[in-house]
Each structure stands twice: as structure tokens, then as C-alpha cells.
Symmetry: C2
Subunit: 146 residues, 2 copies
DNA sequence: TATTGTTATACTCTATAACTATA
DNA sequence: TATAGTTATAGAGTATAACAATA
């Protein structure tokens, strides 16, 4: 029998982090998906298709997500002058405020989750987790291997 | 300026794990919430109220979740003989099969996410993550401190 | 009175399929 | 033909408020 303690622990950690994410989103009167959309727009791609790929969503789901964000005045669609089919999304002032606020609050609360650990432990944990998340893996669209 | 690398890395790790969870759920033709419900029933509490607290859901949301699981033949409600208001949920054979199958597949794919690391690193990571998830924290109902 | 669970309702998120407009 | 994005539709998940039955 294999040792699956680590995987189980990581799944539980992920649930805890997701809960923090959800609670912070609620404080900003938004859903986690809306917050994720706003935060991604802070630094990532801004084209509809690109973003839907990055989020692992169908394009039609992306349309709805952006519709609701736009209706709430958090983002605006901007047409791409070079490709008249395409559009990107940009944060409004309010959207940016929420994105930055939620990001820093999530960060703070995840730090609180980690709690007091030695500088050495923190460095080790950080480098181990970085190793995992930076390992190249199949794109979102491709089914995971079994 | 604080160092928030660790928190950011943990959030991204949580997203990766959630994605694995979602993809595995899809393989079993269920939603992540249904799978979580089934897996919790394998070992955790089985009362409606207890489970809704554990999952951080309103009781009415729990009703809907269980309704759909029951309609699919994955669980059944059982009345509590000692308290005629209450009921618990039990896995059907099919529900148990799915719970076990999904659990082992999630575990395997999270292991794959971790990839090849030394036994030492694995042990360190495991103990650090365990430390985080086993730290006592406020119940789900209580708002997190700010 | 307090608790357990349900119902009614409204909204969000998501996917599939079919569509429009542009490349 | 292929790609970017939308629309229509259906189902799932969630919360709030009001309710029934039991403790």
C-alpha cells in the first residue's frame, strides 16, 4: 500500500485556501469567480479566449462571467483595433480597487493560515511549493493523464 | 514591504489541486460538490446539519445537494430513530464505489502534481503541510478575523 | 423557545449547441 | 475554413426568508 498522506494533506490544504478565498470574496460582495477574474486581469492575459483558456472555462461561460462583471461596473470590454472579432477586458477604477483589496486580504489570511513557523521552515515550504506549481504540465484543455 | 511569495504560491497550489479535483469529478460524471459529499460520508459526520457546518453551507443548500445525490442513486436519507426531526445520509453501493474511486484517483493525480522529489523533501513538505492543516482554527460559521 | 430540515425564490456559474462576424 | 465571441437553454450550486415538525 502506498503512502498517500501527502496528497491527502494537500487536498485538505487546498480546501482551506479555497474557503479563505470564498470568505474574502464575500467581504467584497463578489463571488470567488468574479474575484479571480479581476485578479487575473491585474497581471495576466486580457483577451476573452486567452482568459477562458487560463481559467479552464468554455468561451460561453467567459461571456457570462464578463457580462456580470461589466453589469456591476467592475470591468469594461474594449474592442481590439487589430482584430475586429476580438475584445479584451479592462478593470474600472472600482474593479481595480476590489482586485487589489481582495488580493491583499487573501494573502494576509493565507499567511495567517500558515501561522508562526521558523524562517527556515518558511523558506523550505516556499521552495517546495514553488517547485510544484512551476513544474510544466499539460495545458488546461488537455485531459490529465490516467 | 512584506514577503508574500509563500501565500501566493499556496493560492496557486490550491487552484491546481482544485482543478484536479474538478477533472476527476467529471470523469465520474459528477460535480466536485457531489464528490466531496460522498467522500465526506465515507468517514465524517453524516447528519445534515453537521455536514452542512463541515462544508460551510447553509442547511437549505445541503438539502438541495442531497436531493440531487439521492435522485442519482448515490445516497439515501435515513431517519434518526432518536430524534424524529433529524436524518443522516448513507452511501448506496454505487455511491460508495464512486467515493472510493474518486478519492484514489484524486490522490494519484495530486501525487503526480507533486512529481519526483527526494524522500527528505517529501517528508519535510508533508510535515509542514500537516502542521498547517492541523492547526486549530475558528469554525466555519465564525467569520475569519480581520 | 430552539433546533432540524424543507420549500420557494432568485441569482450565479457552467456546459452544449447553434449562431454571427471577422480573419 | 477557422477563429472570436455571443445567444439560447438547461442544470447545478448557493443564499435568504418563511415554514413545519419535533425537542
Amino acid at each position: 500500500m502506498e503512502n498517500t498522506q501527502l496528497a491527502t494533506a494537500l487536498v485538505r490544504l487546498a480546501h482551506l485556501v479555497s474557503r479563505v478565498y470564498g470568505e474574502v470574496s464575500k467581504e467584497f460582495e463578489a463571488t470567488p469567480q468574479q474575484i479571480q477574474l479581476l485578479c487575473m486581469t491585474l497581471g495576466g492575459p486580457t483577451g476573452m479566449s486567452e482568459m477562458s483558456r487560463a481559467l479552464g472555462l468554455e468561451r460561453s461561460s467567459m461571456t457570462g462571467l464578463v457580462d456580470r462583471a461589466e453589469r456591476r461596473g467592475l470591468v469594461v470590454r474594449v474592442r481590439d483595433p487589430h482584430d475586429r472579432r476580438a475584445c479584451g477586458i479592462e478593470l474600472t477604477d472600482q474593479g481595480r480597487k476590489i482586485a487589489l483589496g481582495a488580493h491583499s486580504k487573501v494573502t494576509a489570511q493565507v499567511e495567517a493560515l500558515v501561522g508562526e513557523i521558523s524562517a527556515d521552515d518558511r523558506e523550505r515550504l516556499e521552495s517546495l511549493v514553488m517547485g510544484i506549481i512551476h513544474t510544466p504540465r499539460p495545458t488546461t484543455d488537455a485531459p490529465l493523464q490516467t
